[in-house]
């Protein structure tokens, strides 16, 4: 039994045990042991991970066994330089979230069980190398999140929870169609029916599927749709702000911090190898989704009156950078720059996962202490909550792309590395930076600075169990901003393998035939 299986079992055991407890303290104790145990295992995996795995076996800690051999479903898990950071991200976020919900008193046993289940399913998505497992975990993530919103959520929780569920579920069903078509075509042509991701994706990439371009594109588009809704990319984003507004703080943190990354992760794991075979204009379509999200988010965010909704829109913009970087890096161009763009896009996933936790955490703290999130009702909170002010200013500046925070490293890589393949997109994305800065600063100014709004009454300073996780997240993104090598090193090796080895993409990148791309 490998480390990954142990990791999953620890969380599963924690979730079941936590459900059996009676009090907050018991449930919390179980959850702390289980989630920090998971964190310890993921750190152990990090320490044991050899950056050169790619050149030898492609996946570290790989385990494969049969599960339902008659229909080609296997238990196949493993990590590489893109999934391992995601596993670490999920365990860090969930472990600190258990600390953050120290005093949760409403159905504590179910709450902590769902939290651990959330962690389990997210990690499951990132480690699965079998489409069936991948899809099961992908769908199972909806379940804990749905209940977290539906039971612990705000006033419009029913609408939001159902919208979240149905919207992403429809996307998933479409994705399932694509996966299924892939499975069927592969089975029909080779006689081997399997859900193994590397096998299927390689078959697609190597062009051994006896199908027309239409069906190749069909598979690509359906799977892409599933990922784009999850990321979410404009115009499939409207479920996100609603879900965030009604979700409890923990739900928002996990939703934005880790759950959205499933979409980005899918881009790297599943879509990337397919890009060389599907129509090339899809690559521009992905870049366009990214660009539109980047351009769209600040304008939508500026109009928001609810602090949490504003932060939710900031996520959409930041996730747009990932699509932009991936699309730019697969196009033919200069190899060193492509690697930088690709690494930047990978790092953006990790970096945004950490930074957004601070933002949503601050929104949550403000809501718990002042009982409002409406920006105009706040003001001058620095007077009552100076510690929160430091954390919030740090988080908002990291989010607007301040250097020496991890977000800048990622965005610089994407902008610099992508310029040579899609210059107009990058110019537009760069010009957008002041607007992003604008809504962040305006929000901070109206909530934290200026005269204190006396109508808020006597607001208490942030509590230790709220302060600690936020501070840890801040320290992580600052350290990674100054010295990103611990995470970016393994990502870069993997990016080089993806782009330069010829195993995943054609060597030198994808050449766009004349007239094969969008007019721009």
């Amino acid at each position: 039994m490998g480390l990954i299986t142990i990791l999953l079992l620890v969380l599963l055991a924690g979730a079941i045990l936590s459900l059996l407890t009676k009090t907050t303290a018991q449930a919390r104790g179980v959850a702390l042991v289980s989630s920090f145990g998971a964190l310890a295992i993921s750190i152990l995996m990090y320490l044991m991970y050899d950056a050169n795995f790619n050149t030898v076996t492609h996946y570290a800690f790989e385990e494969s066994g049969t599960w339902m051999p008659s229909i080609g479903i296997g238990y196949h898990v493993g990590v590489d330089g893109i999934s391992l950071p995601m596993v670490i991200l999920a365990t860090i976020v969930c472990a600190l979230c258990t600390v953050f919900s120290w005093t949760e008193s409403k159905r504590p046993n179910q709450f902590f069980a769902l939290l651990l289940l959330m962690d389990l399913t997210l990690i499951g998505v990132f480690v699965s190398l079998d489409f069936f497992m991948f899809y099961v975990f992908w769908e199972l993530t909806l379940l804990p999140m749905f209940f977290l919103i539906g039971i612990w959520g705000g006033p419009r929780k029913d609408y939001s929870a159902i919208k979240f569920l149905i919207y992403t579920h429809i996307a998933s069903v479409l994705m399932m169609l694509g996966i299924f078509a892939l499975y069927y075509f592969h089975g029909a042509s080779t006689g081997i029916y399997t859900f193994d991701i590397p096998t299927l994706v390689n078959a697609y990439k190597d062009g051994i599927l006896p199908i027309s371009q239409f069906w190749l594109d069909f598979i690509f588009v359906t799977i892409m749709f599933g990922f784009m809704v999850k990321m979410p990319s404009v115009p499939f984003h409207t479920w996100l702000p609603d879900a965030h507004v009604e979700a409890p703080t923990i739900g928002s943190i996990i939703l934005a911090g880790v759950l959205l990354k499933m979409g980005g992760y899918g881009l790297f794991r599943v879509l990337l190898p397919m890009m060389g075979v599907a129509s090339t204009w899809f690559i521009y379509l992905i870049a366009l989704f990214g660009l539109v999200s980047i351009l769209y988010s600040p304008f939508a965010a500026l109009a928001q009156k609810d602090l949490k909704k504003l932060v939710a829109f900031s996520s959409i913009g930041h996730m747009g950078f990932i699509s932009l970087g991936v699309a730019a890096s697969v196009l033919a161009g200069m190899d060193p720059a492509r690697v930088v763009a690709h690494t930047g896009a990978m790092f953006q996933m990790f970096s945004h996962g950490i930074i957004t936790c601070v933002l949503f955490g601050c929104c949550g703290v403000i809501e718990h202490h002042t009982h409002t999130r409406i920006i105009d009702d706040l003001g001058g909170l620095t007077k009552k909550m100076p510690k929160l002010a430091i954390l919030m200013v740090a988080g908002f500046f990291a989010s607007l792309g301040l250097p020496l925070c991890s977000g800048f490293v990622a965005e610089f890589g994407i902008l610099s590395g992508s310029y040579h393949t899609i210059p107009i997109f990058i110019i537009l994305a760069a010009i957008n930076i002041p607007f992003t800065a604008g809504y962040h600063l305006w929000a901070v100014q109206r909530t934290m600075f200026g005269p204190y709004n006396e109508y808020l009454g006597d607001v208490k300073e942030i509590k230790w169990f709220e302060f600690l996780p936020l501070a840890v997240w801040v320290i992580i993104f600052v350290i990674l901003g100054i010295y990103p090598e611990p995470i970016i090193g393994m990502m870069q090796t993997t990016a080089e393998y993806f782009l330069l080895s010829g195993d995943i993409l054609p060597i030198g990148g994808i050449h766009v035939p004349a007239g094969g791309a969008f007019p721009w």
Partner: protein, 681 residues
């Protein structure tokens, strides 16, 4: 014996420790933030001492290079992406800035111990200024564009935090945001320029030190053939850099944030918005000077924007009544002089960098002095900033008054003060630029010359109104003089404001030292970057440098002096002798006064038209789009589904858990489909 000598020399070599110049204040920042509250005077000790350490290393490096001739030094470590390094460079250009920044920053910290003594969040203030100083050192020491940009933003964020240090004042919070936004407009374009530079450097097949300055300089010949959208890539990159410079160094039209930035503590205005941070833009052009030289037309734009800003800002200085804002406009104007002379480098070559840097250093001394003495005035009369409410302060606070006079004399380039040597040289050489065929030549010179008379007038208008005559408000009757910490600083800075020119042999020593930049080789741990032939680099951009030094005619040399005396005479007549009553002209129905008073309506354009009308309209529209169109489609689809599903609606119990069944149902569907297609099961 020689071993001992070698060992001593090695021990005395500070150059490999240059990164500690930057790191010490960063450590000071952390200590100040975490434990500063519990130490001497509740904060300030760590910041001040750590900067003293930086002073020692900076001057040690200066000693190594200037006295011992150990040569220029550069070293770097790999940072995050391949070919992106963290690097530090020691050459005359960085040394001039390091020595100025460390010296001024140390004394301003020294002053702040007295000035901020009553503030309750003193440790936070000192933590932020230490972080600022460390970042400024990081900016100056950078050997590559990205590191420079990183610290460029870091000094910006410190500026934002310090402007808004008194966060409870709404104007202060708004001013901080305005500063960041104005800079962000320039910075995003600067970043884009760096991305373009990265791209064209990678295109040359360069894999290490991709955007390091020296490496770019060595490859300028290849880079000059690159094009972007059919134009010279270097020109476009330089224009984008210039946009960053306009934001940070307060060039027209992005200068609007500086006057508002005066909402911060006066020490912050002196340190950040007069002496150091705002000169970062000038430093960037100086540091990247060979790139500008190799880019066709880039230096012409630099010269014009600089000269225009110099004149433009000095007209605004004439009508403002806020003491600090007068000096703020004068800062914008003086930065314009520095940028303009850098633009004249198209003819003058590296000498232009030397002239700009000398004015930068001299300006740092006298402008810091002016701000600190006005800080002392504010401290002494209870934060009254309107010069209309001052008057006769010289009697009550002579130290402050004469210190301000020293600063004012240096600012207007009174003979034998620092400004006389630095600014008059700029104007003379602008004339040489014009006569040797520089683009827009005489226009640049005329703008700079006209600025002189306005500078003298507005500076002494402020000094006379504040210091002489009768007190015009209650607090001005009994001002109290500043204490030990502040007085010491004022004296030290006065000495340099008056004597810097004479100390450097009329600037000649400084210029000769600075003119070695770029031309001499730079040593690294692994090799040598050879010196550059700036004449050849100039030819790449169509700039033919002067072969020999030239002397302007006598009248050009004396003209600035005469104009300065004229300006001084105007100020004396109007504001000291009161011979002319200006209230006839200074009133609301005078259109010229209206334009000046409203700052050429630029603030109105940016804030009321662009920010509030256009952007607010757009984002309100956007919100409607998001809510009703995009989400509307989603809700419409669900409505259609519900309507068409009236029959099966009875299945929907509304119980939340039932929807979860849908998920499991979906998974089961997958399995059933699989089995069906697989067949044989």
């Amino acid at each position: 014996m020689s071993d001992v000598a070698t060992a001593t020399t090695a021990l005395m070599d500070f150059r490999p420790y240059a990164h500690w110049i930057m790191l010490l204040p960063m450590i000071g920042f952390l200590l100040e933030l975490l434990i500063g509250k519990y130490t001497w005077r509740k904060g300030g000790m760590f910041a001040t001492l750590s900067i003293l350490g930086s002073v020692i290393i900076s001057y040690g490096c200066l000693y190594n290079v200037y006295v011992q001739h150990l040569g220029f030094w550069e070293y770097s470590w790999d940072w995050f992406y391949p070919g992106i390094v963290a690097g530090f460079t020691i050459d005359p250009l960085s040394l001039a800035m390091l020595c100025m920044v460390s010296f001024i920053s140390f004394f301003i910290h020294f002053y702040a111990i007295g000035y901020m003594s009553h503030d309750c969040a003193k440790n936070v203030y000192f933590a932020e200024t230490a972080l600022f100083t460390g970042s400024m050192f990081g900016l100056v020491l950078s050997n590559n564009l990205l590191q420079l940009f990183i610290f460029w933003e870091m000094v910006g964020v410190c500026s934002y935090l310090l402007i808004g240090f008194w966060w409870h004042k709404p104007e202060a919070a708004a001013a901080g945001k305005k500063a960041w936004m104005s800079c962000a407009v320039g910075d995003c374009l600067f970043l884009l320029g760096i991305a373009m530079m990265y791209t064209i450097m990678v295109k040359q097949g360069i894999t290490s030190e991709i955007i390091s300055f020296n490496n770019i300089f060595q490859n300028l010949e290849h880079l000059s053939h690159e094009t972007i959208f059919g134009m010279s890539a270097l020109t476009i990159i330089c224009i984008l850099f210039m946009c960053g410079v306009l934001g940070k160094s307060a060039g027209f039209p992005l200068h609007v944030w500086i006057p508002d930035a005066m909402e911060g503590p006066t020490t912050v205005s002196a340190l950040i918005h007069a002496a150091t941070m705002v000169t970062a833009g000038v430093y960037l052009i100086a540091r990247a000077f060979p790139i500008f030289l190799a880019a066709p037309n880039a230096l012409m734009i630099v010269a014009f924007m600089g000269a225009f800003t110099a004149l433009y800002a000095s007209t605004l200085g004439l009508v403002v009544n806020d003491l600090k804002r007068i000096f703020a406009y004068s800062t914008i104007s003086q930065l314009g002089y520095m940028i303009a002379i850098l633009g004249c480098g198209a003819v003058l070559g590296v000498a232009a960098v030397a002239y700009a840097l000398f004015h930068l250093v001299a300006h740092a001394f006298f402008k810091a002095l002016l701000f600190l003495s006005s800080g002392s005035v504010l401290h002494g009369i209870g934060n009254v900033r309107d010069i209309k409410e001052m008057g006769g302060l010289l009697k009550g606070m002579p130290w402050t008054g004469y210190a301000m006079l020293a600063g004012a004399l240096a600012l207007i380039a009174f003979p034998f003060t620092a400004g006389y040597y630095s600014k008059d040289r700029i104007i003379e050489d602008a004339y040489i630029y014009a006569t040797h065929g520089g683009d827009l030549g005489y226009l640049v010179w005329v703008f700079l010359v006209l600025g002189v008379i306005l500078t003298a007038t507005y500076t002494f208008r402020a000094w006379y109104l504040a210091m002489t005559g009768e007190p015009r408000s209650y607090p001005a009757i009994r001002p109290h003089e500043c204490g030990f910490w502040m007085k010491t600083t004022l004296v030290v800075l006065s000495v340099f404001a008056l004597g810097l020119g004479i100390m450097t042999g009329g600037g000649a020593k400084f210029w000769h030292f600075l003119e070695e930049t770029f031309v001499h080789e730079t040593h690294t741990a692994t090799g040598v970057y050879p010196g550059l032939d700036l004449h050849e680099i100039g030819l790449l951009g169509g700039n033919s440098l002067m072969a020999h030094g030239a002397h302007p005619p006598q009248w050009v040399i004396y003209l600035p002096l005469l104009l300065m005396i004229a300006g001084l005479a105007i100020a004396t007549t109007v504001y000291y002798k009161n011979r002319i009553d200006v209230s006839k002209y200074v009133k609301k129905d005078n259109p010229l006064y209206q334009i000046l008073w409203n700052k050429y309506y630029l603030d109105y354009l940016f804030k009321d038209i662009i920010a509030e009308k256009i952007i607010m309209t757009v984002f309100t529209f956007w919100d409607v789009l998001d809510r009703y169109v995009i989400d509307g489609v989603v809700n419409l689809l669900s409505w259609i589904t519900i309507q068409s599903g009236q029959v099966s609606r009875k299945l929907q119990t509304g119980v939340v858990q039932n929807y979860a069944t849908a998920v499991i149902f979906g998974v089961s569907m997958l399995m059933i489909l699989v089995i069906m297609f697989r067949g044989g099961l």
